[in-house]
Symmetry: C2
Subunit: 145 residues, 2 copies
DNA sequence: ACATAAATGATAATTGTTCTTAATTTTAAA
DNA sequence: TTTAAAATTAAGAACAATTATCATTTATGT
């Protein structure tokens, strides 16, 4: 992957930000310093950087736009149902997370959305089907996408 | 909310399914028994049923389409990175979830995505700003949407 | 500096979803 | 029941977010 000014700026800006901006928000932030940058370049590079594991693409409840996170490591977010703000939170998975959030952040959890991903029992047994598909996953009987 | 055949069928079909279909998938499933149903009706009613808390709209990582879940209660999903299948999982939040998933489902967790929502400390203090916006949230200084 | 593969900018096309309109269906009252 | 108002529908247009296209520009190895 080449190092271009656009790519470098996108990654550095996202890493510096504490928020989890959409592609367009990031575009507006970068535009003043790189006036000739195209929105498509921002989208393209965010996608690429996420594929490379340097950043993270996140799908937040209630937001029709995808958001991006400069921290590539699995971690939790807390989103306020009133203002929509999305913050990071570090959780020791052994603890009771909801109680922990209450006590450390003063954040009242009323709902949660948790997704674990990995290999299901079936796929662990038969890791044969490796055909690539558009969405980057493998084909498999259980695939509903 | 009125009881129409379309609405009833959408809710019942979604409840019966163990998967978490997209609006289009649900549309194809329902079409044979209700050939005159429109895709827009499926979208409209899924949105409505989710607003009423009868079903749940979920945003799964890596899927550009929204998915719907007949189980309206907050719960966890496990998605296989190989086949993309999304399953339900019941977790006592006090336990170590990853260990629990391994032991009960034989599912190897390699990544997770967790979002808690509720009221942040700021919004708990000043629940004044109640102006509705297009995305259904309230306006607030921290709002990045 | 040069060649060339890769990346960019501008914009067209596509995708997923919502809106609009007129027609139909449901509900509740007469 | 019949009837009228209100809600809901089907169909397709419109919309916003994202991706693809392609001519031009740029980064990197030689």
């Amino acid at each position: 992957m080449r190092v271009t000014i656009q790519r470098k700026t996108i990654l550095e800006t996202l890493r510096r930000l504490k928020s989890h901006p959409t592609a367009e928000e990031l575009y507006s932030i970068i535009k003043p310093s790189l006036p000739r940058i195209s929105l498509a370049t921002v989208y393209r590079n965010l996608e690429l950087l996420a594929e490379e594991g340097l950043i993270r693409k996140i799908f937040v409840q209630g937001s029709s736009q995808k958001r991006f996170d400069g921290n590539p490591h699995p971690h939790c977010h807390i989103q306020c149902i009133n203002c929509g703000k999305v913050d990071d939170i570090t959780i020791n998975p052994i603890l009771n997370p909801i109680k922990f959030i209450m006590e450390t952040k003063g954040f009242e959890v009323t709902n949660y959305h948790i997704e674990f991903s990995g290999l299901c029992a079936d796929c662990k047994k038969q890791p044969s089907q490796k055909e690539e598909t558009k969405n980057g996953r493998k084909k498999c009987k259980g695939n509903k996408n």
